[in-house]
Symmetry: C2
Subunit: 309 residues, 2 copies
């Protein structure tokens, strides 16, 4: 008698799709500077997620990407990355308190041609991260996905100011929004983050995370509130990409464990916090590229201990 | 055969002494204003502590204190409160974000005559809170105590600027320092709170708490680090006295439980957080005067739940 297999074989190996930018960044902080570091929301998020599952990336880059960076892309499925001539470039700096990036120059290059086409074999993924990018493109990506995946949305202040309507449209369609403290206050026109979290819940997502950098993160849902610690860092060299890494780690852990419960989301937030903490310790992706899952687990455990009372 | 009692009867009923100011405050925030509200560090701290133990207060006030406020003092031992003509007065306001008090006017009145004499029957107390007041007076109070009590010190930016040497002297003599985020950065000349916490530990105290308001608090000791949540408040009317209430609740719980361990200090910080959260919900002492221990326990339990993962 043949053995009957009841479960369906997966129709796709693409559990997690990540959309965002790929860039070459010039960054200056009080602790040093780098030129043409590999960056962009898709890179930081995918790298963080890659410790949990292999992400399938939708983005665009130029053939000016230095060869040394191509090995970083090896951890991802890159068939969704379009190729053109010149990669997006961002030049930014941070002041003494490292709180906010100051954009000095932006050259859209490849991003101005980005069509955000999702390869057919990505379209059945169960998890989707809409990394920080134009809300029109985020809407376009989501519309190509089948069976509405569990979708995490990240954004930034620039879109709140310039494309608020489109941003509200995409917020309404996603399951989970991550937004930083300053952006939440700006978007909701209130200094009170608890009020802001509740207002954002009313826009549609079932889960809202307000990221507070060195002060941790707050999770809001209709039934739950969670206050996550940050990892205490004494040496912070460059915060670029920390928010993307947090989102990538969070969705990567959810995609790996494939379980949407408030308990598991709390854990995912702590994994996101752990990965993002490494990102801040060196410029660009220097530190996050060299991690092991053991490094991440150690920080997860530490974050557990500094909570108990 | 007679029953032998081995334990010594207590030589004093004064387990906890609290030193600080008593004031009449005019406060304006975006959510209203009050005139001549009972305030000052000794009042806020003692009121918070009174839910755990009866504090013995060392302070000074004028006979212009409205009679309605005298019942508040009933919860304390007030034989250490000197009487004179005019009570200290403070006029302050808060901006939209409620982050920092702006002092509009100060009339020292009684405080200018304050001799900080500790009554004889207070001098054997096991716990001492040196509330925010001139570091010279804090030094004088500590020098009058027998058998060095477990001492918690609170301070403010004004003394960091005007009496840094004396402030360092008293910091060196205490067991526990509480200081807010901005003051820690100012005192240690670093934007990094983790660095600041470690620098402050080197000045002498075994325990440092950096208070971060809506972002919770951080505890530093040589062996321990603890990240405490804040209680999520949607309606914040007046933050005056929250720091004093936190310190009072913390030392009150320690005095009640009489156990100095890192585990118990973590609990004490959460009790301090719970009491301080009520303080912010209304002007002056309006809300904290009406609490029950059950109200405080409920917030303690809530703070436990929003931490678990």
């Amino acid at each position: 008698m043949p053995i009957t297999v009841h479960h369906q074989p997966p129709t796709t190996n693409h559990q997690l799709v990540i959309v965002g930018s790929i860039g070459l960044d010039d960054i200056e902080t009080p602790f040093g500077k780098v030129k043409s570091a590999l960056g962009g929301s898709a890179i930081y998020a995918s790298q963080a997620a890659s410790y949990f599952t292999k992400p399938s990336v939708v983005s665009i880059m130029g053939n000016d990407i230095p060869e040394e960076y191509l090995k970083i892309l090896n951890r991802f499925d890159i068939s969704g990355i379009a190729l053109t001539e010149k990669t997006f470039r961002w030049t930014g700096s941070y002041e003494y308190d490292m709180n906010e990036a100051k954009t000095i120059d932006t050259k859209l290059n490849a991003l101005s041609e980005f069509e955000a086409n999702v390869p057919k074999n990505y379209q059945e993924a169960k998890y989707l991260l809409l990394g920080n990018i134009d809300p029109d493109l985020q809407l376009k990506v989501l519309s190509q996905m089948k069976d509405h995946p569990f979708t995490l949305l990240d954004t930034m202040n620039f879109w709140i100011t310039s494309k608020r309507d489109k941003l509200e449209q995409i917020i309404n369609k996603v399951n989970f929004l991550v937004i930083n403290e300053g952006e939440a206050r700006q978007f909701c026109q209130t200094p009170n983050l608890i009020k802001a979290g509740k207002m954002l819940l009313n826009l549609g997502p079932k889960f809202i995370v307000i990221k507070k950098g060195e002060h941790g993160a707050l999770l809001f849902s209709n039934n739950d509130f969670f206050s996550a610690p940050s990892y205490p860092l004494e040496e912070l060299k460059d915060p670029t990409g920390c928010g993307d890494s947090f989102a990538g780690g969070l969705i990567g852990y959810l995609a790996k464990t494939d379980q949407i419960s408030e308990k598991n989301i709390r854990k995912a937030i702590i994994y996101g916090t752990a990965v993002a903490s490494f990102c801040a310790e060196d410029f660009g992706t220097k530190k996050t590229i060299k991690l092991t899952i053991k490094d991440i687990e150690e920080r997860y455990d530490f974050l557990t201990k500094i909570r108990q009372f």
